[in-house]
């Protein structure tokens, strides 16, 4: 004997409803497998360790390329978590349900990106000083490095999310995504690595950091809506 819900109860969607729904759900999924967040960090550490192996281990050289390598590592780590961002929801039909929900796409798209950043970008930012130490960076450079990552990784998550949504259902899967996302990541990489480099060479890091901040604001304003729209196209 099943008790039906009261049909016709007014159902209303809202930005906050969609945002909190998506974030709560994705964090719950991530929490179910805490290893995933750990693994992002492990991957980052691994990539950062591969370079000295390929290149050789002269301290000066390493200090010189350290900021660049750390940023590239962060970028690849952020990138690696992307294919799963929408693909799983697409394959099991959740994305259809999201598209048909009364909440605006803007809300749940932003919520998903926020959860993605908390699981991938945040731990990575927190780890970066340790990696920086291995490359022999100075303390002030380390601080700038961490700050630039804190501002830059959300941009990576947003940009990457948009590309992941666009590449949904398109053939070529992850590779296509790489091709779409990486060029967009480049400006972030340039400002981000530029900030630490400026600091290391005694210049001011502020211009780079404020450019990065501007990119973050622009991404926050424009991208969630774009992601919602891309998802709608993918589901069709």
């Amino acid at each position: 004997m099943i008790a039906n819900a009261q049909a016709g109860t007014p159902v209303a969607g809202s930005f906050a409803g969609g945002f909190s729904w998506a974030m709560a759900r994705d964090l719950r999924l991530a929490w179910r497998h805490p290893d995933e967040a750990v693994l992002t960090v492990a991957f980052f550490a691994l990539v950062a360790s591969l370079f000295p192996l390929g290149i050789g281990a002269e301290p000066q050289l390493l200090t010189r390329i350290g900021p660049g390598v750390i940023w590239v590592g962060a970028l690849l780590a952020a990138f690696l978590a992307l294919p799963g961002l929408f693909a799983a929801d697409y394959a099991d039909g959740s994305l259809e349900q999201m598209t048909l929900s009364p909440h605006p796409a803007l809300g749940w798209a932003a919520g998903k990106i926020a959860a993605h950043w908390i699981v991938s970008g945040l731990p990575l930012t927190l780890l970066s000083p340790l990696i920086g130490l291995q490359y022999g960076l100075a303390p002030d450079t380390l601080a700038v490095q961490a700050l630039s990552l804190a501002i830059g990784t959300p941009v990576l998550s947003l940009l990457g999310g948009a590309c992941a949504a666009l590449a949904l259902g398109a053939r070529g899967g992850g590779m296509l995504l790489a091709l779409l996302a990486l060029p967009l990541f480049v400006p972030v990489l340039i400002f981000g690595a530029g900030a630490s480099e400026a600091q290391a060479t005694g210049l001011s890091a502020t211009p780079h950091l404020s450019l990065l901040g501007a990119a973050l604001i622009a991404a926050l304003v424009g991208l969630p809506a774009a992601i919602g729209m891309a998802v709608r196209i993918a589901v069709d």
Partner: protein, 241 residues
């Protein structure tokens, strides 16, 4: 001695429970003796000064990190070939202790490197392959826990451990195959007067590490057995003994 008798988890559970405390006691006694020799008796090295005393934990932990991996890989082979339950549980029980020793070897090496080489870390083959060993241990642990069905985790992780065995000779011979900062055999200490005390201290500490590893593994394997055999009648009957 009937090995098949002890290879059943229920009998091994009891046996391990009985043996573990003795290994810990032995480990504590040996560690006390080894630390006494290493920290108090052994003379300070003329070239390096007192930092060299890190050797009494660096070398034993580095040895154990490789040896435990080897033992784990052997159990993994048994798991894959004979599908024995206990061997898989033993491998799972060894991995965290192995990872702990690997971490300590890396850590002590780093703190030894700073005063002697002027840096905490260099990317030479010995250090890197030891770091890879740490990742292999973590990979083993992550993979074995990444499946809903623990038996699948056992088998998948066992296969990984066997593939990773290639890394052991690389760690061991890296100092010969490549030009590294890390010293090969303990050249700088050869022929000095402290040789004997130092060697004894190192060997005693190694024995301590060995006993500790066995004790920790036995305790952990008991938990693993309980987790895995939760529904078996003997666990119920044992009344969580």
């Amino acid at each position: 001695m009937n090995w098949f008798y002890f290879s059943s988890p229920s009998t091994f559970y009891t046996l391990a429970g009985r043996l573990a405390p003795w290994f810990f006691i032995l480990a504590a006694a040996l560690a006390a003796w080894g630390l006494y020799l290493g920290l108090l008796v052994a003379p300070t090295d003329a070239q390096q000064g007192a930092v060299y005393r890190v050797i009494f934990i660096h070398v034993p932990t580095a040895w154990m990190s490789m040896f435990l991996y080897f033992v784990m890989a052997c159990y993994c082979g048994l798991t894959l070939v004979f599908n024995t339950r206990l061997s898989a549980m033993m491998a799972r029980a060894i991995a965290p202790t192995g990872a702990m020793f690997t971490f300590i070897a890396l850590w002590t090496g780093a703190f030894w490197g700073r005063p002697t080489w002027g840096t905490y870390w260099v990317w030479d083959a010995r250090l890197t392959s030891e770091l890879v060993l740490l990742f292999l241990y973590s990979g083993y642990i992550a993979l074995s826990n990444a499946f809903e069905d623990p038996r699948r985790g056992d088998r998948a992780a066992a296969l990984l451990a066997l593939i990773g065995v290639v890394n052991l000779p690389i760690i061991y011979f890296s100092v010969q195959w490549w030009n590294t900062l890390h010293q090969g055999s303990s050249v700088s200490f050869k022929g000095t007067s402290m040789h004997v005390t130092m060697l004894t201290g190192m060997l005693v500490m190694s024995a301590a590490a060995w006993m500790y590893a066995i004790g920790a593994t036995l305790v952990r394997v008991r938990s693993v057995i309980l987790e895995r055999e939760r529904r078996a009648q003997w666990v119920r009957d044992a009344g969580a003994a």
